[in-house]
């Protein structure tokens, strides 16, 4: 297994706490299971053999009561442990945190890096970069149905509920690439609503953030220019945004820096030239039912669009 999405391979403090809790509960439960299984086996052996060994009812009653008390004590310990860990998870919020708003849509994630200055905000989709060692607070919204944001190596999930705002706090302690996935069933393509989380060292993260504040670079070659034209005049612009161009639709992922992202279709396929071409010419065969209609581009138009999108680093 890749452990890209594993509860017990934590890469941040929150997930580490929960993983710790898991191992404690796992230990207790294994012990209880073994004890019950052994008791049941012995009981069957004895019951099968001994025709006569009559324990007085009061002895059995005492044993049961003893086991009951032991159970209760164990349970109280479990509740205690669970509540303590829950508390400490809650204290990991920080005022200087990076704030990111994630808005879920059927079946992709809209990601917005908050900043009091509007021009310094960054919008992207299906891929989140975070700085290592700094708490991140997510504001979570939904545009349609209930989804759930879950990045197991970093933190437990929380739902994105239309009409409500939820928060999720996490912190990556190791640089790396982690995978997250929508965890609440949200319809046809719930299975292909993933996201990539990249935890970068702080400088690298700042570099990424600055780069992503920029508008799309102007096309250089005529082919790229043609691609831009196709996008602006064709159906693409109705749904997608490419800042600095006429494309300003808000119902589909922002494409301003599409070329810098590692997947397409919310984690459905790798972002390579070939896959990108495949996606644009027939998105429905890759992720059936997704909201992108085949744009119906002629093959030269497609080549032009690909050439242009290439440049959107």
């Amino acid at each position: 297994m890749s452990h890209l999405q594993s509860v017990i391979h934590p890469a941040g403090i929150q997930a580490a706490l929960v993983s710790h809790l898991w191992w404690i509960l796992f230990g207790i439960c294994t012990f209880v299971w073994v004890a019950v299984a052994i008791a049941a086996l012995i009981a069957m052996r004895r019951g099968h053999r001994a025709a006569s060994v009559d324990l007085p009812e009061s002895r059995i009653g005492r044993n049961v009561a003893f086991a009951g008390v032991a159970t209760t004590i164990t349970l109280i310990a479990i509740i205690f442990e669970s509540v303590v860990i829950g508390r400490s998870l809650n204290t990991l919020k920080a005022p200087d945190a990076l704030r990111i708003t994630v808005t879920a849509n059927q079946w992709w994630w809209d990601v917005q890096y908050e900043n009091p200055v509007p021009s310094l905000r960054v919008t992207t989709a299906n891929e989140i970069h975070i700085p290592v060692g700094r708490p991140v607070g997510f504001n979570l919204l939904s545009n349609d149905v209930i989804h759930s944001l879950w990045i197991p190596n970093l933190q437990g999930k929380i739902d994105l509920v239309p009409g409500r705002r939820n928060e999720l706090w996490l912190q990556a302690d190791r640089p790396g690439v982690y995978r997250g996935q929508c965890a609440e069933y949200c319809g046809l393509q719930h299975a292909k609503m993933a996201l990539v989380v990249v935890a970068d060292p702080p400088e690298q993260f700042e570099y990424w953030l600055t780069a992503n504040r920029a508008s799309a670079p102007a096309p250089v070659t005529p082919e790229q220019q043609r691609g831009k034209d196709v996008i602006e005049k064709g159906p693409c612009a109705m749904c997608h945004t490419i800042t600095g161009t006429l494309a300003g639709g808000r119902t589909a992922p922002d494409l301003t820096h599409i070329a810098s992202r590692s997947t397409l279709g919310a984690g459905s396929i790798p972002n390579t030239q070939g896959y990108l071409a495949g996606w644009i010419s027939d998105p429905q065969s890759i992720k059936p039912g997704n909201r992108m209609p085949p744009p119906g581009l002629a093959s030269d138009e497609l080549q032009a669009v690909l050439a242009y999108l290439e440049t959107l680093k």
Partner: protein, 658 residues
């Protein structure tokens, strides 16, 4: 009207009616009175609780097979990464159908059905209370299930999971009629479940044979009583939920529409306030069966009768206070969540007490007999316990927020549902099969089937824990190769194939034994409760004479045999109504005989239910035939006769024979 002073029953000496030839004559008269005749019409008019219980069980197993086939399709799809065996749309319908079928058309009806068949026998009654309502409930169940599958084959099967969360299932995102079909199926099963629960409560409270005070009731009867109360208190919540959902979809109410002041989470609260008790509704009757089988195998009373009863009641009671543990990741306030963690974990205690009592019972057995039913029950200690323990893990908020909606949860609930309910149920069927059919199931085949199931089950569902921990969400129609989940999934699919084989073997056993099984006799297992004190299968009137009891194991204390009952009419369907607490005789009560009206009314109700998902006015127009059917049903047919009899006093057996 006549003067009415209350007469008490009295003890008579050596009633001559209990001499064997008089008894023989009484029995043939009872046969004539209680027999429902043959042929299609008689079949449709059937009201005998045993016939209906049998139908319920067979039908529910039919749905089990359908749900299992759907599960097999899912397992084929998931066996390989990026598989295209099922389209996403079909997969979504299939997992929804699987969950809905298993919960609403298999697990709940089948455990209630065991009660329908067994409870009147166990309490020594001649019939179940309200046999016609019972028949109606069966038809509603059957028509609901047929409706669901017809719609599924018309590509209109539910596709929002077995809990149909809004807004996905709401008017805006739930296209077509799929969500309505789900909601209306729920209505069908509510109606039938509530009626069965009511009949069971009335039977248990008011029709126990004299001497069977509450503390002498078999534990299975207790479990059915408590379960029935859970049904009665829990189902109203889903009635409201599904009605509001249909209204949101059909007449634009806004219960769950956040834009107009509604709230999607209201749905979750309403659903789980029902949904959690629902899982214990499935679980408690199985515990009752466990107690009966373990006690029989161990040839002793279950340790701690009172604790067992209190534990089941406590489970039922606390079960209403834990529903939020299904909603830990919705972002509810933390303080409230801690309460639900504590409640969910505390509910372990009653189950623990029962587990320990059973182990104590087995420990002190008088030569434990390891029969096939016992094997099924004993696997509880290995399988269910795993599920229970993962339940404890899930009750912890931080951990649940990691594994909620993953295959870890899928593993949990199959371990508890199958380990805690289906295994005991299969054991129970094995155990009562001789009573129901008169023949034993084959022991060897039974063992093969059991071990296949045991191995197949663990192969299928144990790997799911690991998949969940490694991040595999539930309800995904496929997963990327790069995640590395395929080996464990393949293992699970292989396991599912073994389960399939094992159940086929079970089915073969049934088919073979129906014809060639060893003839059982009255009490092949040497059990202690009243259902074993009559022929196998029992006559339509269950007992002649009706027996009274003086202990909680009447068949194990024959030296104390209490007096049987005489004076119940044999020329009409008469039952004895007794007092709630101590089951002293209260009055004799006539039971209605077979009738086609329940079927007619069920057809009318079904038409209205189906109509109403297409047109709101269907509710109004469709109600008219229901009303007419009900009038026809309750309009007395032989009032004159009854009146005369009432005046003349009752015909006794000897009179009617002369």
């Amino acid at each position: 009207m006549m003067a009415r002073e209350e007469k008490k029953p009295r003890l008579v000496e050596r009633d001559t009616r209990l001499e064997s030839d008089a008894l023989g004559r009484e029995r043939s008269l009872l046969d004539a009175t209680w027999s429902n005749g043959r042929g299609l019409i008689a079949w449709m008019a059937e009201t005998d609780h045993k016939a209906i219980g049998r139908r319920y069980i067979v039908t529910a197993f039919g749905f089990f097979a359908l749900g299992g086939i759907l599960a097999a399709l899912m397992r084929i799809q998931l066996a390989r990464p990026e598989n295209t065996f099922l389209s996403p749309d079909l997969y979504n319908q299939i997992f929804s159908m699987h969950g809905t079928t298993m919960m609403f058309l298999f697990a709940v009806p089948v455990v209630l059905a065991m009660g329908v068949y067994l409870v009147p026998l166990m309490v020594g009654a001649r019939s179940m209370a309200f046999p016609r309502m019972l028949a109606y409930s069966y038809w509603m169940f059957l028509f609901g299930g047929i409706f669901l599958y017809v719609m599924f084959f018309l590509n209109t099967g539910p596709d929002n999971g077995w809990f149909s969360y809004v807004p996905l299932a709401g008017p805006e995102f739930g296209y077509g009629k799929r969500a309505d079909v789900w909601a209306q199926l729920i209505t069908f099963t509510e109606v039938s479940g509530l009626i069965v629960a009511t009949c069971l409560v009335c039977t248990i409270f008011k029709m126990r044979t004299p001497g069977m005070s509450l503390h002498r009731m078999p534990l299975f009867v207790w479990s059915m009583l408590i379960t029935s109360f859970m049904v009665i208190f829990a189902m109203p919540s889903i009635i409201i939920a599904s009605t509001c959902l249909i209204m949101d979809r059909l007449i634009s109410t806004h219960f769950f529409n956040q834009a107009e002041g509604g709230d999607p989470l209201l749905w979750q609260h309403l659903f789980w306030f029902f949904g959690h008790p629902e899982v214990y509704i499935i679980f408690l009757p199985a515990l009752g069966m466990m107690s009966e089988v373990i006690s029989t195998s161990a040839r002793r009373k279950v340790v701690g009768y009172t604790e067992m009863v209190l534990s089941m009641s406590a489970t039922a009671f606390i079960g209403f206070g834990v529903w939020v543990h299904h909603m830990f990741s919705t972002g509810l306030p933390q303080l409230g969540q801690s309460f639900f963690t504590a409640a969910s974990i505390m509910i372990v205690i009653p189950t623990a007490i029962q587990t320990f009592n059973w182990i104590g019972t087995i420990w002190t057995a008088r030569r434990l007999q390891i029969t096939v039913p016992f094997l099924y029950m004993a696997s509880f200690f290995f399988i269910f316990i795993i599920g229970g323990l993962t339940g404890v893990m899930l009750a912890s908020v931080p951990l649940d927020r990691q594994v909620h909606d993953t295959f870890f949860v899928v593993a949990h609930f199959h371990y508890v549902l199958i380990g805690g309910s289906t295994f005991p149920l299969l054991g129970g069927i094995f155990f009562w099969f001789p009573k129901i059919t008169g023949r034993m199931l084959n022991r060897r085949i039974g063992q093969v089937s059991f071990w296949l199931l045991f191995v197949g089950f663990n192969l299928t569902f144990f790997p799911m824990h690991l998949l969940g921990l490694d991040g595999m969400p539930r309800r995904v129609y496929t997963y990327p190769t790069s995640m590395g989940w395929h080996n464990l999934n393949l293992l699970a699919s292989v396991g599912a194939a073994i389960i399939f084989v094992s159940l086929l073997v079970y089915l073969v056993n049934i088919i073979v034994s129906l014809r060639h099984g060893v003839v059982a006799g009255e009490n092949p297992w040497g059990a202690s409760t009243l259902e074993w004190a009559t022929t196998s299968p029992p006559p339509p009137y269950n007992f002649a004479p009706q027996l009274t009891v003086a202990s909680s194991e009447p068949l194990w204390h024959s030296e104390l045999a209490p007096p049987p009952i005489v004076g119940l009419a044999a020329d009409k369907r008469e039952v004895l109504v007794t007092y709630l607490l101590d089951a002293e005789p209260d009055h004799r009560y006539p039971m209605p005989g077979p009738s086609l009206w329940p079927l007619v009314a069920a057809v009318a109700t079904s038409v209205m239910f189906v109509w109403s998902i297409f047109q709101a006015w269907g509710v109004v127009w469709g109600s008219i035939p229901i009303f007419l059917a009900l009038v026809g049903w309750f309009w007395p047919t032989k009032t004159k006769e009854r009146l005369e009899q009432g005046v003349r006093g009752r015909m006794t057996v000897s009179e009617s024979l002369s």
